[in-house]
């Protein structure tokens, strides 16, 4: 579990399980006679509103949520980290500007931003969600890369690389960013986890993808039927919790230097 690949194990197992089950079950098939049926052998998670099979709904929704989270977090990392690293290498006005911009974007109520943009499209899809979340997802990565580069820019190995004539993008990609991957990898997981929850929250309040295949809409059904079918709510809440936890842990996989650091003695 402590190894790099082990961190992705929960998400891998979850995705594999869902990938096997999802094609066998249809989340859009409704059997009204089974509405809000408790868990049974043919329907292990029970049934929700209008008799939708919750296992089908949860497996499909989980795969889509994880894919959305992975895309947005990767976009955030790929855009944000270079911005922060370049700003810190250039120093001066650019560094201060990026610092302040990150402050503003990070404290921005992203939920409101999502509401504003989603209200402009007739049928929100996950592509729209991905765009909206990417608008703010880069900021924490830029902030962390900036802080890391501030420390690294005066480190001896960077100075040595410069003395050897390494410049520009090569210095950034081969020397600075790999050494910053530790914190960036943690942030990658945290961002992905937050996206899973945000997507569910938007669907919960009725702003999610119109197909209704979302962990948030399971929770929404569950809250509406709390008094007579509490299992729906439990399935919704637990699936969101498990997905976000698995995704958070999986972020560590991109920490390319973790083996290296584990091998070097402490203090180096």
């Amino acid at each position: 579990m402590r190894t790099r690949a082990g961190r992705a194990l929960p998400l891998g197992a979850l995705a594999l399980g869902c990938g096997v089950i999802a094609p066998l079950r249809d989340p859009t098939r409704l059997t009204p006679a089974l509405s809000f049926l408790g868990p049974t052998l043919p329907h292990p998670f029970g049934c929700g509103e209008a008799g939708v099979d919750l296992l089908a709904l949860v497996t499909h929704a989980l795969l889509r949520a994880a894919a959305l989270a992975a895309v947005v977090a990767t976009v955030g990392l790929v855009i944000g980290a270079p911005i922060g690293a370049v700003a810190a290498m250039r120093r001066g006005a650019l560094e201060r500007f990026v610092d302040r911009a990150c402050d503003l974007v990070q404290s921005f109520p992203s939920f409101l931003l999502a509401l504003a943009v989603l209200s402009a499209v007739r049928t929100p899809t996950r592509i729209h969600l991905a765009i909206v979340f990417s608008l703010t997802a880069w900021a924490p990565f830029a902030r962390l890369a900036l802080a890391q580069t501030r420390v690294l820019r005066s480190a001896a190995f960077i100075e040595a690389a410069r003395a050897l004539g390494v410049r520009g993008s090569r210095l950034l990609l081969r020397h600075i960013l790999p050494s910053s991957m530790g914190v960036l990898a943690v942030q990658l997981g945290a961002t992905a986890g937050a996206i899973v929850v945000s997507e569910a929250a938007l669907s919960f309040v009725g702003l999610g993808p119109r197909d209704g295949v979302s962990l948030g809409s399971v929770l929404e059904q569950g809250v509406a039927s709390m008094l007579f079918a509490p299992h729906v709510m439990a399935v919704g809440a637990l699936s969101i919790m498990v997905t976000s936890a698995a995704v958070i842990s999986a972020g560590r996989v991109v920490d390319v230097r973790s083996r290296l650091r584990a091998d070097t003695p402490k203090g180096l």
Binding site: V117, V121, G222, A237, I240
Partner: protein, 311 residues
């Protein structure tokens, strides 16, 4: 003092820019993005004449620059035109009616979170609980890592449906109890964050000379921690509150939906469902203004209690 005034001016400009940027974003998102607002409102069956009439009524047939000018003027005069659902009601009146409920919810949550979080931080750092104090921090970590979206419905089920000690969601007679229950749910994640950061901030001062001096002068443990150690640690705590406000607003929308409470979030969702653009713009901007004001207030409070910030 001159420097202080300059800082106030700078902060005000920054806050105004923030609001303007968000308002403009809302404006352009609703107009530039694909999706004709008139068609969104009237549906696919609308005739061309109906569409044109509505566009004229909304000013959507004017050039974009003129529309933007009108919008900015409306923003300054707090008049974004009548609601589309209720043509006789100015949209800002609807927003003003919804504001107190959300403000009460958010303010009560911040207040509760500040008290619970700070006390937990002191309990986790001070000698009051002995070896058991690690559990305070472990609890804070556990709560902070659980999404509000998942634990709020579960706690509500346990307390309102099973134990019947909290009001049920949507209960019109919930009153103060309902407000307190909803805001304590909203306060929990914030309190956990405050406890963690406050614990770290207290760890920085816990070996400071002035605490030893206070103890030597005969101050009790309680007095030393609450009166001497806490004030210099308030900066990070306020910073956490300010940085979590965006999440708090999002959480407020979710909780208003969960408890079927009236408020800004409910208004936004209703306006969204009905494509009531003036109300939607007004509500989102109002939420943004609320957010900016509270953030500026947090900075001002920080400056007022910590002379190191003013210097």
């Amino acid at each position: 003092m001159k420097k202080f005034a300059a800082r106030v001016v700078a902060r005000t400009i920054e806050a105004a820019t923030c609001v303007l940027a968000m308002a403009s974003l809302v404006f352009f998102a609703l107009r530039v993005l694909p999706g004709d607002a008139a068609r969104l409102l009237l549906g696919d069956q609308a005739s061309a004449r109906e569409l044109d009439a509505l566009r004229a009524q909304l000013g959507l047939d004017l050039p974009m620059s003129v529309q933007y000018g009108h919008f900015l003027r409306g923003l300054v005069t707090l008049d974004l035109g009548p609601s589309l659902r209720h043509p006789n009601v100015p949209s800002m009146t609807l927003v003003r009616e919804a504001l107190p409920a959300t403000t009460a919810l958010a303010a009560t949550s911040v207040g509760l979170a500040a008290i619970i979080g700070t006390l937990a931080a002191v309990l986790a750092s001070g000698p009051f609980l002995g070896a058991r104090r690690v559990w305070v921090e472990r609890g804070a970590v556990a709560i902070a890592s659980m999404p509000l979206l998942t634990f709020a419905p579960l706690v509500t089920y346990a307390l309102a449906v099973k134990l019947r000690i909290a009001p049920l969601p949507g209960d019109p007679d919930a009153g103060v109890g309902g407000l307190l229950f909803a805001s304590s749910l909203l306060a929990l994640p914030l309190a956990a964050q405050i406890a963690r950061v406050g614990r770290a901030a207290l760890a920085d001062v816990e070996r400071a000379q002035f605490l030893v001096a206070a103890r030597a002068r005969g101050a009790s443990q309680k007095r030393t921690w609450l009166v001497h150690a806490l004030p210099p640690s308030l900066g990070p705590i306020l910073a956490v509150i300010a940085s979590q406000l965006g999440a708090l607003l999002g959480g407020a929308v979710v909780l208003e939906r969960l408890f079927e409470r009236p408020g800004l979030g409910t208004l936004i969702l209703e306006a969204y469902a009905a494509r009531d653009m003036p109300v939607l713009e007004g509500a989102i901007i109002a939420a943004g203004v609320l957010f900016v004001i509270v953030q500026a207030a947090a900075a001002a409070v920080h400056a007022a209690i910590d002379p190191r910030v003013r210097a």
